[in-house]
Symmetry: C2
Subunit: 482 residues, 2 copies
């Protein structure tokens, strides 16, 4: 195990946990976070600490850190701000190796909080404690069944995505979007004010953990720019980092300072630096997940020339616009390819790119059209739009669309995966997932999400995902990493 992985083990795979500020009152964070930890199925011992309680949630409670009968790997702290530095001191004396400080009211609220935060960081630094926070919503590590965080009753499954977020809220939004699409997460860290551990530390760890395929981040301000860029450059050699940078505008920057005491810095400088480091920018919360999901199974395209297959003209036109706006090219199809498609497609197909099958298409047509495009050297990958229509048609217009998505389309999706692997080119799917009153999103999530695939809801989202894959592929090639 590498030094970095070793160092973070007490934080993400603790053998036991001291929970400081545990409460038996359901409206208190000391209750909610502890309940998440307990109900999330953590396998090791949990020691609640509260000076006035002897038992909380059927666990024996201790009046101080000192009284806890074991040296735990991790401490979780939810007590008031002024109590935190002395408690970190207690943890240090005890030999605890990592602490998550959820409490808010530090640098983000003024001078006095800032002083407390410096004190706390100082103790952590001196005693070699890994300190997360303060002013954060906790961490999770589903592979360790570890959920000491604020959102009540939310337990993502393990999976290949890791998130570090300077906003807990935004992190939970991204995770909720992922969960609703059937995706799992290896880690989440609400890094909060980053008194001690910073963005760069988590990204470095995520870079080395072999479970993790894609790193997601929400950033308001970067505290050690140089170190961050060094780490990012190292990590992006092997794994994509997808990032929202908030506080881009003056009003946003002011809000960021009052939120996590983050200095957003110059957008121009930041933009240039992250581009240099191969980081992919996302423009909103949904896009952060959407782009990241593409990297799990899709091969990186060798260029920007997209073949579009659609079952409806309008979606095709919008996709052509969206691809162009995202910096992609709608591939010119060679005449031989058009002749080949003439051989099996119905006579009304568009005879160009987008390959418009004009509703009423048969499933075999879709598969064959995609394959012909993938085989073409002038096409770097495919966007396929509108399963909705094709699925509806196969069903002859009855109400059992859902069955099709979950049964025969299971095969369809396996074929898509197989073609992606065989040709080494991406196939991005986009479709409405509701059709009138029928909502297929859950079924698509359970069919696709488990395969690490996603069905986007707009041609625009598909184009952005494709363009992000192309951008990262280009970065790797230009720097000789691939």
């Amino acid at each position: 195990m590498s030094e970095v992985l070793q160092r973070f083990r007490p934080l993400f795979s603790p053998r036991s946990i001291t929970f400081i500020g545990a409460s038996r009152y359901p409206m208190k964070w000391g209750f909610i976070v502890l309940a998440n930890l307990v109900n999330g199925g953590f396998k090791g011992k949990i020691y609640p600490v509260n000076p006035r309680e002897n038992e909380i949630m059927n666990l024996k409670a201790y009046h101080s850190v000192d009284e806890v009968p074991e040296v735990t790997d991790l401490a979780v702290i939810v007590t008031p701000p002024s109590s935190v530095p002395p408690l970190i001191e207690d943890c240090s004396r005890k030999g605890i190796k990592a602490a998550v400080v959820i409490t808010a009211g530090f640098a983000e609220v003024g001078q006095e909080g800032h002083r407390l935060q410096l004190d706390m960081a100082d103790i952590a630094q001196r005693s070699d404690i890994l300190l997360v926070g303060p002013n954060c919503n906790g961490i999770i590590c589903p592979p360790s069944s570890l959920y000491p965080w604020m959102p009540p009753g939310v337990y993502p499954n393990p999976g290949p995505l890791a998130i570090v977020s300077q906003s807990g809220n935004v992190g939970v939004s991204v995770i909720s979007r992922g969960m609703s699409r059937g995706f799992g997460f290896s880690h989440f860290v609400g890094s909060g004010n980053e008194a001690h551990l910073r963005l760069a530390d988590f990204i470095e760890f995520f870079g080395e953990d072999p479970q993790i395929k894609v790193i997601l981040s929400y950033v308001e301000g970067i505290r050690e720019g140089k170190r961050f860029l060094e780490v990012a450059k190292k990590v992006t050699k092997t794994k994509p980092i997808v990032m929202i940078k908030a506080g881009e505008t003056d009003a946003g920057a002011r809000a960021a300072y009052s939120h996590t005491a983050a200095l957003s810095g110059s957008e121009t400088v930041f933009a240039a630096a992250v581009r240099q480091a191969g980081i992919i920018r996302a423009s909103d919360i949904h896009e952060l997940f959407d782009i990241s999901a593409a990297f799990i199974r899709q091969p990186l395209p060798e260029g920007k020339r997209v073949g579009i297959v659609t079952d409806g003209g309008g979606w095709g036109v919008l996709a052509a616009d969206a691809c162009t706006k995202a910096g992609l090219e709608v591939a010119q199809l060679p005449n031989e390819l058009i002749t080949e498609m003439d051989g099996f497609l119905p006579p009304w197909w568009s005879r160009g790119n987008p390959v418009d099958l004009v509703s009423g298409m048969r499933q075999g047509d879709v598969k064959n059209a995609i394959e012909v495009l993938l085989r073409c050297p002038q096409v770097d990958g495919v966007i396929f739009l509108g399963m909705r229509g094709s699925l509806a048609m196969q069903d002859g217009g009855s109400s059992s669309l859902l069955n099709i998505v979950t049964s025969s389309s299971g095969d369809f999706f396996s074929e898509i995966l197989q073609m992606m692997e065989e040709y080494g080119k991406p196939i991005i799917l986009a479709s409405d997932t509701s059709f009138g009153n029928i909502d297929m999103s859950k079924d698509l999530a359970s069919t696709l999400g488990v395969k690490g695939m996603v069905c986007y809801n707009l041609p625009d989202q598909a184009a952005v995902a494709f363009s992000s894959l192309a951008q990262y592929g280009e970065y790797l090639r230009e720097n000789g990493y691939q």
Copy 2:
């Protein structure tokens, strides 16, 4: 009834319908569209026409238009292209006043199709038949229980939104998004190749129909630019028109031509013209619905100064960025207002705009904070973010979020509506609608959609909605319409 309303009555409120090309084979459009018409609950008589059948779907079938024992208001036609012009001739001879031609294979496929299309338009023009299509997916008018269109089994409820779309597919996508949010529609028209009736005709009609509050449109090309702009200018005096213009890029324009034989024209000229006509542009399918929904209940703001109330810092920062990017101002709060909020908000609030209540907020706080902002003359409206967090907290972190959304929050939403009316300023809501494995979207749809309200899923969507309201308000004021 106005002349325009009178003229369109046979199309949207027909007393009876001749269905030409009816089929008893479930994979045929002649079956699917007829099934939609029948199962959609159309109250008048339906006469299937098919030269080889005597009964279809328990309806007596006729071998020709001539044999139908009644002069129906409307004909729906799904027969092959070359049969269409003579059939329109039959309809004309019979005295039928309106026809929807769903059949494709006209101007969009080449010379011969183009000729057929001209013929058909010519007959319609001569005999004063209102002709929709060809190459379209039909029309619907839920207030008339009229659903002669292609998407199988999709029956939107009546409501204040009307759509004209040059792509059937895109229209259904917009309608599906609306349905999933609890919204209804007064009309949908897939205008297809627009051989006879064009965009401007439908928009003119929508402008006059008092049931309709907002007009949505998806446009690939505009056929009579001058007339279109005249109509649009007249209609936007009293109703907003929200529009996607597809084919903005070269690749998109090529795709549009092959789709509906539409000439997309110059984006620069178009952009200037629609701005002049007060039309609001949407950049994608979701935005088309999202912006339109805002116009149903929200008062138009008198300016661009937004107050933001959030239960989480990250969402607040993103909202401040999004407002600025959408051309809005994050309002500077006067000192008196901050002092007033100090009086009732918990001490940790952000003391600025965004008004960040930092999780753990109480419902009363939200309402009071919004009201203080609405009362402030320097604030033109409010964006409220993140009901998710506040709802979770009120519940003390258990699993019955859903109950809260549907019960006590029912009151909360009524209070929101009341405040909007009292202060004449918009309040835009945005929140995740899924939280871990809990999906609140259906409950929000049934609580909010019926009130004509929507909960956006991103701060960015809320900012765009607010900005569209502000833009339209400004247009009305500048032109002296308000």
